[in-house]
Structures are given as structure tokens and as C-alpha cells.
Amino acid sequence: MQASEIDWDAIYAEQLPRVYNFFRYRVGDGPLAEDLTATTFEKAWRSRTRYRRDLGAFSTWLFSIARNVATDYFRKNHNELPLEDAHFQPDPAFVQETIEHHQDFAYLSTLLAQLSARERELIAYKYGAELNNRTIARLTHLSESNVGTILNRSVNKLSAAWEAEDER
């Protein structure tokens, strides 16, 4: 299949929510996720002739572009810290406020921000973009088992924090 044979309307309808949610889980809710989603689709369209079906699924190709867009963004903004440098502690008052206002996703975002870049990226692929571990492994150049391990560790970490807040 050539790039010219791809049904772009169908691709757009199917992949837009996945890319958008990938960025929501990656950078949080709001205009930034939309901007990065738009950038991803624009780049995908401009470089559509480079897509080769024999090298992988279209979604893998699209998310490799999304990954580059995210990497570019973080490189320019330096606002994603590795785990060992993460000193971010949510303001209890803010957390309380978000809970009170049922802004659960905003709260989840604060928890995600405490993860390492890699952990958060994998969470975004898995729960934002709904990619399976094999596809994530291809995108991140990790082994499938490594992806599973990191995801499991990250989810446990988030789950503990989430439940702790629930119990308050």
C-alpha cells in the first residue's frame, strides 16, 4: 500500500482521539495537548510519502512522530524532570481543591508529573493512546518485558498515591 492509498479521513477519525489522549497523559490537559496533537498530524501529513506499510502499522508510524513532537517540546521547555530530580510535591491545598472540584484528571496529572520521563511516556502510550506493550516496545526501543515491568511499577506507584488520596 502506498501513502496515496491511505484513507486519511478514516485515519484522522480513528487516530485523533488516541494521539490527543497520549498528549493529555503526557503533558496534561488543555491547549498544550491540542497544540502537540495538531503538530503531530501536520507533520504526519507533510511526511506521508515516507510512510512504508512494510515497515509497520500506520499507528506505530504516527506515534513515532508524536514521540518526536513530545521530545522536541520537552527539549525546548525543559519541564520534564527525571525521577531522581523530581522534587515536585503537590501543594496539599491545591490537591484538596482539585479533589473538591472533581478535577480528578488534574490530580492524576500531578501524580504523573512525579514519575520519571520514561514512566510517564509509557503510561501515556498505554492509557492515553491505548497501545499494546509490543507497539510501545517498538516505539521506545525497549524490550516488551521491560515495558511490562516499567508499566507495572508505575501503575503500582500511581495506584498507591491515588488510593491514599481517596482515603483522605
Partner: protein, 261 residues
């Protein structure tokens, strides 16, 4: 793994955003298509032009006839057409002059020294020699002819030719060199008494020369059955042995050449 709390936050993008992005990409589709059409036309033209030049250069390099140096100042050039062949390429029998001289007469009257074969195939008989010893002309040549039986019909089966190249101006590529156009795939390098030589199988179809003097418009065509030739050079003299329709083999021609004294 309890991950339900992670999956509940997926939500579709805002319709306004999705619509605006779709519109933007759709417009880009049109403008990009238009741009690409324009660029590709120009680019294709350039690529085609460059490719044409490259192909032409490759064809020239690969297919253009090239002079091959057999020995110092002795050249052959294989080519598909005999157009432009010079007098030096013509079979020696074209220069048969009556009455014939003896070998001794030819040697004594020539303005240069040349060797003569002392061995020829046993079924060939000496017919005589011719000499073109015109110091005013561009070339000076000596010929010795052999034939089968008593036949006086020219051409005979075997001719020996000695060119004095000091007076030759037949090759613009190299002063005083001797060059011949021959058919493609007709040459085989060999030696005459350890001197580099070239065996040439065939000759241009010179019978046309009688029909369209001085040469056919489209040049001569190579006839592999026409002759067997051996050419080598010793000093200022280029020797050619030319055999037609005779039992002479390449080995015979080399043996004959190596017997020259």
C-alpha cells in the same frame, strides 16, 4: 494490576479543535498538492536533464571507440563502422602493381630497410613484390605476394606488407604512429619474437569500394571471414601479414612473421 483509575480519563478531543485541525490539514492537502505539482514538474525536468547528460556521458565512455596501443606507436581501434578508414587499412592487394618485382629488387629500391619472411606455408608460391617508394607522398610501402598454384588472379591468398612510418602522416593522434580501425571483437593481442603484436580476424567489406569510391556513405561493415591479419612493429617499420581464403592459421602467420630476416 488495578489500573481502572488510569483508563477513566480518556476523552475525545473538543469537536471545535478536531474540526479546525481537519480544516487546516485539508487546506494544506490542496496547497501542498499544488506546490508539489509545480515543484515536481520543475524537479522532474531537471532530474531528467541531468539523467540524460549522465546517460550520454556513460554511453560515450562505454561505447565510444577507443584507441588501444598494441606496442609503441602501434594502435588499433575497434569500432562498429568502417567509416573513415584510411589508406593504411586497405588490403595490400589494392596496391598490386604490374609488373611485379623480385624481393631483392624491392629491397634494393626501397628507401628503407625491411625484413622479409623466410618461411611461408608450403602450399603458397611467391608471386612477386610491389614497391611504392614515393618520397614525396605520405607513405612508403613494400609488398610481397604469395598465392596458391599458378593463378595470376589478384588478390592472391597471402600478402606481406611493410610500412615505413617515418613518412606516414596517417594518424593525427600520434605523430609517426600507425593506427587502424578494425571491427568490434576482432582483435587478439599476441607476440612476434616477444614483440607485442595484434591478430585481427576479418576485414571491412572493401568490395563496396568498387561500387562507391572512395568509400560508402555509411562506411564499411566488418566481415569476420574476409581475412586474417597479423600486425606488429619493429622500429620505424610496421609489418602486416594478410591472409585470405587460404589454409593459413594464426599460428602460420606468427611463424611466418617470426621467420622474417
Amino acid at each position: 494490576m488495578n489500573d481502572e483509575f488510569l483508563t477513566q480519563f480518556r476523552e475525545p478531543p473538543r469537536p471545535a479543535f478536531a474540526h479546525a485541525l481537519y480544516e487546516r490539514i485539508s487546506q494544506e492537502k490542496v496547497s501542498l498538492r499544488a506546490q508539489l505539482a509545480g515543484r515536481l514538474t520543475l524537479r522532474n525536468a531537471l532530474v531528467g536533464f541531468v539523467a540524460l547528460i549522465l546517460v550520454a556521458a556513460c554511453v560515450y565512455v562505454l561505447a565510444a571507440p577507443k584507441w588501444v596501443e598494441v606496442d609503441n606507436r602501434l594502435w588499433v581501434q575497434e569500432r562498429s563502422s568502417g567509416y573513415g578508414t584510411s589508406m593504411s587499412d586497405l588490403p595490400p592487394f589494392f596496391f598490386y602493381a604490374s609488373p611485379l618485382l623480385s624481393i631483392e629488387e624491392a629491397k634494393s629500391q626501397a628507401c628503407y630497410e625491411f625484413k622479409v619472411p623466410t618461411w611461408v606455408p608450403s602450399d603458397l608460391y611467391l608471386k612477386g613484390a610491389s614497391l611504392f617508394n614515393e618520397s614525396a607522398s605520405d607513405y612508403s610501402r613494400a609488398y610481397i605476394f604469395w598465392g596458391q598454384g599458378e593463378s595470376a588472379d589478384v588478390p592472391w591468398e597471402l600478402a606481406f606488407q611493410a610500412f615505413y612510418t617515418r613518412m606516414l602522416i596517417m594518424d593525427k593522434y600520434y605523430p609517426e604512429s600507425f593506427g587502424m580501425y578494425v571491427g568490434r571483437g576482432s582483435t587478439k593481442m599476441t607476440e612476434v619474437n616477444s614483440i607485442p603484436a595484434v591478430l585481427i580476424r576479418g576485414d571491412w567489406d572493401y568490395h563496396k569500394v568498387f561500387e562507391t569510391l572512395p568509400s560508402p556513405d555509411n562506411g564499411y561493415e566488418w566481415d569476420k571471414q574476409a581475412a586474417l591479419q597479423l600486425i606488429w612493429r619493429e622500429g620505424e617499420v610496421v609489418y602486416r601479414i594478410y591472409a585470405i581464403g587460404s589454409p593459413s592459421s594464426a599460428e602460420d602467420l606468427i611463424r611466418m612473421a617470426e621467420s622474417a630476416r
